[in-house]
Assembly symmetry: C2
């Protein structure tokens, strides 16, 4: 049997066909068609599904499931997207819409960070482990947890929001309205915020010089590159950021104690330059000394599509 | 079948006999015999077991299990107490020692906060729920989590240390060596530390007046009593403390999303005067709006004994 995964993002919709061996054998994508009418995005998804089937030479009867990964909160009982702000979905019956187009196969939905964790479990860094935590460092901080071989979506099925643990009580305002969340310190957005402040306060710094007055040129890669080059402000930002992330990882170890923690998302492109100080922090401060391996995520850009395509293995 | 639970604390060892209906039908206790030789405490426990059997008129063959609750970390594979500092147990084969005295029944071991959570699950606040979090506010901050009807002891079986999530990055030094843990802000010890500082800085405050120069008179109850009476310093301490606890509870909601959260331990004697602001905090700031009920723990002083006595239901 085959399966289909669709990863719905604010800029593009990526879809893929997986074979029985969980390999992604065909990929297609299309721009996300704006946020005015969610029905337009349904038309795009249905078109992508049809394209995968036609081009892959696969009949819908041979598809074990279609999975949808969404950057937002899910009502698992009602199969609704509660809120996906970047998509303009609010209480949107996404599953029912796709199911109407594909009545002969099961349609599943999941938060995108959870889907990515499932991809790591079946095909990536979590293979061979029962319990793994994926932390994605991007615009926000996402988290996906596989607990004893099952995706964890909360005791009340509200979800799993690792990025909204309080890390700095009373600290920076978070997108969620609370202050001091992990997301407000460990996201790419947070690093960029702090780097812009540093550049404004220190026009002589390498970061400020590289940006040359254009704030939009300041991103995580620039900060890490300048830190590698020894720029004082960049090193300060790098040490602060990896400290926050080290504490976040240590908090995860204290309450989840996973066998493995994988770090993904755009910021993780820095590789071991990012991970080494995080590992050192956890080694020194995590409550449990025989704690999780800390690695880079394996699945990278395909994580959402692959994880969505494998949802049927957990729910079918 | 009956069962026996033993709760081993630094000042006393409490033991109880439970009947088939999970009722505690007989209790006995003895002082913990110092920390020099752990074998002395074994003799006390064996004596308590024998006393319960004799006085209860129960044969050991009718005991389904003996459970031991310990304030420390457990190696579940090797059945050792890794460290229980207050007891002077280090890599101590507690189970084997009790098993040698009672070869005809199974002996189980658990961290005391976990045992207390199990007591809430079978007999207390968590009845009827699949997933509940117990937070105990005492000398430290303990946590016990029942997840989908099972006691959660970590993905690597290191345990569950809710009190060692970072709440105030870089903040007060914690007993674990890290800074800013929930324990360093939400334990009774932390509240007392802050109250002593306030009393020293504000000798006119009601807390300082009540202590009359004797720091040891300052405890959680005094702070709450003075806050109720409107003392400015005490109100400030109360608001700060309930804010920290509100954020800790909100962090738990974000990653565990339990159906119910019970607050126990000495500080919780303040009842709804403690819980009301915590509930209000979570209502305003917790990521999930349809989140856990927040209640007082039910089992109070018997939690450890009852939970220990019911371990056989999860492991037998």
């Amino acid at each position: 049997m085959y399966s289909i995964g669709i990863d719905i993002g604010g800029s593009k919709i990526a879809a893929g066909l997986l074979n029985e061996e969980k390999n992604l054998i065909l990929k297609r994508s299309a721009p996300f068609p704006g946020t005015d009418d969610p029905e337009c995005s349904i038309a795009v998804m249905n078109h992508l599904i049809d394209a995968l089937l036609t081009e892959g030479g696969v009949r819908i009867q041979d598809v074990a499931g279609i999975g949808l990964a969404v950057p937002g909160s899910i009502d698992y009982e009602k199969n609704l997207v509660v809120h996906a702000y970047n998509l303009g979905y609010h209480s949107f019956p996404l599953v029912a819409r796709i199911q109407a187009h594909c009545p002969d196969t099961q349609v599943f939905i999941e938060n995108d960070a959870n889907a990515a964790a499932l991809a790591e479990y079946y095909c990536g860094a979590f293979r061979g482990y029962a319990t793994g935590l994926l932390i994605t460092l991007g615009t926000g901080v996402g988290g996906g947890l596989v607990l004893n071989h099952r995706l964890f979506v909360g005791g009340k099925k509200n979800g799993f929001e690792f990025g909204h643990i309080t890390l700095v009580y009373g600290g920076e305002l978070c997108t969620c309205g609370h202050r001091g969340c992990i997301e407000a310190y460990c996201s790419a957005t947070a690093l960029i915020r702090d780097a812009r402040r540093a550049a404004a306060a220190h026009p002589e710094s390498r970061i400020a010089q590289a940006a040359a007055g254009d704030e939009s040129k300041i991103d995580a890669k620039l900060v890490f590159d300048c830190a590698k080059a020894g720029d004082e402000q960049a090193v300060r930002l790098y040490e602060a950021y990896t400290g926050y992330l080290g504490a976040a990882v240590s908090s995860a170890i204290a309450v989840l104690d996973p066998e493995i923690i994988a770090i993904g998302g755009g910021v993780s492109n820095a590789g071991n330059f990012l991970l080494d100080p995080v590992r050192a922090y956890a080694k020194e401060y995590a409550f449990f000394k025989q704690h999780a391996k800390i690695v880079l995520a394996d699945m990278r850009n395909d994580a959402g599509v692959v994880g969505a395509g494998l949802l049927h293995l957990q729910r079918g």
